[in-house]
Symmetry: C2
């Protein structure tokens, strides 16, 4: 374990200067502080994990995900995380992240500089610079819907996507559907891969045959829906399983434009159970986002206590509304 003294020896400065650098004391130059922080990170120094109450701070980093309004996907996740953290006297800062910010400063340096004991990371993609750094970080870090292997300081929290897709397919199969299309999220994301695998496995389990013409990636963008809906229907789909409620709502809109009634002519299932699902009357797979946030907190505190959790998965549930009905074909 690297100590403050080790850092002082390496830099040839006093222990108190290192301590000032780590704590951001006002009487030390910004230049020296940067050198101290970068050397500390390079030497694998990590701050004391158990802190006095007045210094207990956690960061929530968020990118590519809306979270400011209660109807946004990230809102309840952050709310659940904060509810649990506040009960145990942790302060929580929510920090929007950009690719530029990640190139500017190393993750561990950022965490050390700002005195965070750990972070909860939402919406990052595999291209993010910090995602690469999570493979070797010394800082307790919980990733929502992302997985990093073989690092005891990092854990994954999410919904069991396989079970979610299986619940949706089971529901549609019971209604007599045999041509079930999948409008997935972003290509090359872990979550999309899990859902694609579960879709194929689920169809086979219920005696149906996966058909490439009935799967596409919608990139969580409503604008990507139009062409896919037309193509699915031309290829005989009687039900469309969408990987978000926003996508499902845009599928319902597109069906209306094509004069197809939902669920009369085509059944539509969403994912997430965000407020738009209620508004559109969507049958959907619910991710309990308050619980996801709470689990994020439970997991980060485990990592801070050196308990090596690898992943915590939550149960999805099926919420049946009015966008699915018996197949008439």
């Amino acid at each position: 374990m690297t100590t403050i003294k080790d850092i002082a020896n390496r830099l040839g400065i006093s222990v108190s200067a290192v301590s000032k650098g780590l704590n951001g004391a006002p009487d030390i130059s910004e230049e020296l502080r940067t050198i101290v922080l970068e050397t500390a990170v390079e030497m694998g120094y990590s701050t004391k994990r158990s802190r006095k109450e007045e210094h207990r701070r956690l960061a929530v980093f968020i990118e590519n995900m809306d979270y400011e309004s209660p109807s946004d996907f990230g809102y309840d996740i952050i709310l659940g995380f904060k509810q649990s953290a506040f009960k145990q006297k942790w302060a929580v800062d929510v920090i929007p992240v950009t690719p530029a910010m990640q190139l500017e400063e190393k993750y561990d340096t950022y965490m050390l500089k700002h005195g965070y004991s750990g972070s909860f990371v939402l919406g990052f993609t595999l291209h993010d610079e910090w995602i690469k750094q999570f493979a070797t970080t010394n800082t307790p870090t919980v990733l929502f819907d992302n997985f990093v292997s073989k690092n005891q300081n990092v854990a994954y929290v999410g919904t069991d996507n396989r079970e979610g897709i299986d619940l949706a397919i089971e529901h549609l199969v019971k209604l007599g559907h045999k041509r079930i299309a999948l409008l997935n999220g972003t290509l090359y994301s872990m979550v999309s891969e899990q859902r694609q695998d579960a879709y194929n496995a689920g169809l086979i389990k219920y005696g149906l045959t996966p058909d490439e013409k009935l799967t596409a990636y919608g990139y969580f963008m409503a604008s990507a829906t139009k062409d896919h809906v037309k193509s699915f229907i031309d290829n005989g789909a009687t039900a469309i399983l969408c990987c978000s409620d926003v996508i499902a709502a845009s599928v319902v809109d597109e069906c209306k434009l094509l004069n197809l009634s939902v669920p009369g002519s085509i059944s539509v299932v969403g994912f997430d159970n965000t407020p738009i699902a209620d508004e559109y009357g969507l049958t959907t797979i619910s991710q309990n986002r308050i619980e996801l946030g709470k689990s994020g907190y439970v997991t980060i505190t485990a990592l801070i206590s050196h308990i090596g959790i690898s992943s915590t998965l939550m149960r999805p549930t099926l919420v049946v509304r009015n966008s699915t009905s018996v197949c008439k074909e």
Copy 2:
């Protein structure tokens, strides 16, 4: 939600008689008590999950797993579970289970009768009667190394077996081994399947080809080792990856009988990091059993609070001792 009044109405008896039956009051016949309990379970009644301190009781059910001595696999798991539970004022009963006991009384009835708020279940197999009942139980239940789908009251806790096998294969590949055998545990168990899949995927990842002649099931029994070791060596194995330390130790013994030095002629890797691994100097994949027990406790309390955790996986770690070395072939 079924209430005590519902049960009283169904049975045509008073609320106080039902209450006495549920609580095992002395002034009610055993016969009436059985009827009350069975009716309560049949109607989906579940006891209040948050109880007064003096009534907070959890059960640990254990079968097919040694746990009484510190060298036994189950010992530390139960210890970790108890340590966490006692801190939060839960009493814990450890209950050895037999197939006969499971046929005698339904799981939910047993839990209700004995006033347990939840249980942690170790060592059950897919043939166990209660495993079938876990699919629909109303009682918070955490399964070690077993998974039940689609029931919000049941969660799975275990080590990330895929990562464990990958760590072992990575270690052996770095030492130059190309013919790596797998001596797996019990056929048709979830854990064995995960390890078999991870073994195949791991070999392919490192550019090697899986060979059926290099895999076998040892059923966690040292006596099953003999023939497999001979066969692996005849088929060119230079390393044997075993799914428990007990099996690995018996492989080492068998190699001695065959005049093969470990690790000079053949490398051996265990799994679990139980005390026998230390005694035999085995390189092994460590399951931190204290942490597994603590995670079992954290997960059962989440289920009791209606937080629908599906699974909690722990990170394995590689512990290098003297049973592996550079491949000389």
